[in-house]
Amino acid sequence: MKSKAVSLVTNNPIKKKSVWSQFVRQWDTQIMIIPGIICVFIFSYAPMYGVLMAFKNYDLFKGFSASPWVGIKQFETFFHAPEFSYVLRNTLCISMLKLLIGFPAPIILALMLNEVRFMAFKRIIQTVTYLPHFLSWVIVSGFVVSMLATDNGSLNMLLQEVHLIQEPINWLSVPSYFWTILISTNVWKDVGFASIVYLAAIAGIDPQLFEAASIDGAGRFRQIFVITIPSILPVIIIFMILAIGNILNAGFDDILLLARNPILRNVSDVIDTYVYRVGVMNSRYSYATAVGLFKSLISVALLTFANRLARRSGNSLW
């Protein structure tokens, strides 16, 4: 900053420019920036300040500043709430499952697509698998409900056809099936789109490496493990860090839309959907803010931890 200011001064020897007069001179550029900054300030920073509500007992009629401070009472209420244990368990388990299955799936898809030599086939599969990413969760949940319906849902029809089941199963109202349905739908929606990055990383590998490996007698299957995967490892690690930082974002739209049946609440409610329900629908604003803040704090800690791990392997985010 300073050195740039100095160079400006030497260009303009009449008098020394202060930061403010420089600012005024750049009015044309600053005027393009300021609206953006104001917008970010209002819609991102004002809610951050609003987080203080977690330490208050927000009263709609008294307003924000007049509501009494209650310290960490809201957090204690959450830790002792009957929902606490299952909400936390669902959040952790669902996001772990998403990580465990949803993370490797696009890598495997990219590796498989890379082995396809028949280009038209590859392009068709890519076009088809990228498509669901652009559909809203409302449409996707509509598909799921239709596929799993008891009256002529395709899955029940198929299973009855091959005599695996006698009676149609109401898949979306049995708690023990919910996680499987949720994770599969997520993979279905995003596996193709997520594979783009890995495909691009694979395309960037020096072809000489493959030639050398094949001269050394490595078959195609072996080349995947000795050349392809090690070459795209940095990309994998960066996405892994991002995924770990996101581990408490177990999902929101998908859970809200797929678990409409209240029977599923014990297995479907995660922190975000719980915040929505108690906050927006039951108007317990301070309490819901505290629950949300609890989540953000853990997320930041996880991201820092993951980044520290990654730095040790030389691939850190910051």
């Binding site: 819609f43 809203s136 002529n152 279905w188 078959g219």
Partner: protein, 300 residues
């Protein structure tokens, strides 16, 4: 080079699993379209899979004549058009300012923006903010808060940084200030990045159902995805628990008046109608998104 047996088995396994994945991805689309074109009473007898058994346009006729659906469609179109235009306009302008050299406070502006990518106040403070701003039940709640996307700003900025300096210098010599340089010189050469980010922003606006769910409870401002959500919801409730709640019962009853039409075939037809715009832009999306994703991931 002769392929070994194991290589050939591997190829066969890869091709068949990719084919299976393709079918599994495509089938729900196809089946929904088939059900939407099939007579409702026939669908409820079961067995409709790959091809309509009793072809009819009745479902679409009802959907396209329903005032609520048409109205929501218009709301979605308006919101997508205005929202995308304003967002791209302000975000690209912001990014251009941030891409220029020797700008006072630039470093602080950047830190200010990047912080929001990692921290947020969460749903409830945001909800109360919108309410205090008096933006509930206004179409602007779906447009203004998403006007600046920090993520898109960074992508734009990366693009502008890579433009040759000579372009700007010549404009400055001709007496253009930053604003006219941006509109006369920079925007015309930024076609690809503007197209890419406009498409992504438009898809976001078209697909967003949640904003309207919490901030809008006027029927005449409900976008199509939110309405579809309500239709599916009451559908499921009646299907699963027979507890179709009051809110949408009237709409459902109105849709249900003809015996040959079932809620299922109608919701499928509505889904198809609301997906058509996405399908129409998908070829363009596909042309651009690979580039968009890559720029994003390099910066990310």
């Amino acid at each position: 080079m002769k392929q070994s047996v194991s290589n050939r088995t591997m190829s066969a396994a890869i091709y068949s699993s990719l084919l299976l994945l393709g079918l599994v991805t495509l089938y729900p689309f196809w089946n929904s379209v088939v059900i939407a074109f099939n007579s409702g009473s026939d669908t409820s007898m079961g067995g409709v899979t790959f091809w309509p058994r009793e072809f009819t346009l009745e479902n679409f006729k009802i959907v396209l004549q329903d005032n609520r659906i048409i109205h929501s469609f218009i709301v979605s179109v308006l919101r997508t058009a205005i929202g995308t235009f304003l967002s791209i306009f302000f975000t690209s302008m912001f990014a251009y300012g941030m891409s220029k050299k020797n700008i006072v406070f630039k470093k602080y502006y950047m830190v200010f923006c990047v912080i929001t990518m990692y921290f947020s106040g969460g749903l409830i403070p945001y909800f109360l903010l919108i309410r205090n701003l008096g933006m509930m039940n206004s179409i602007w709640v779906m447009i203004i808060p998403s006007i600046i996307s920090v993520w898109n700003m960074i992508i734009f900025r990366t693009f502008f940084n890579e433009l040759p300096d000579a372009l700007e210098e010549s404009a400055t010599l001709d007496g253009c200030n930053a604003i006219s340089t941006f509109f006369r010189i920079i925007v015309p050469v930024s076609g690809p990045v503007i197209a890419t980010l406009s498409l992504f922003t438009a898809v976001y606006h078209w697909n967003d159902w949640f904003t309207a769910t919490i901030f809008i409870n006027k029927a005449n401002l409900t976008p199509i995805q939110t309405l579809l959500q309500q239709i599916l919801n009451s559908n499921i409730a009646s299907e699963m628990l027979q507890q179709a709640s009051g809110g949408n019962a009237a709409a459902l009853e109105q849709l249900n008046r003809q015996q040959t039409i079932t809620t299922k075939s109608l919701s499928m037809a509505t889904m198809v109608v609301s997906t058509v715009p996405i399908m129409m832009v998908y070829p363009f999306l596909q042309k651009y998104f690979v580039k968009g994703v890559l720029v994003g991931s390099i910066k990310g």
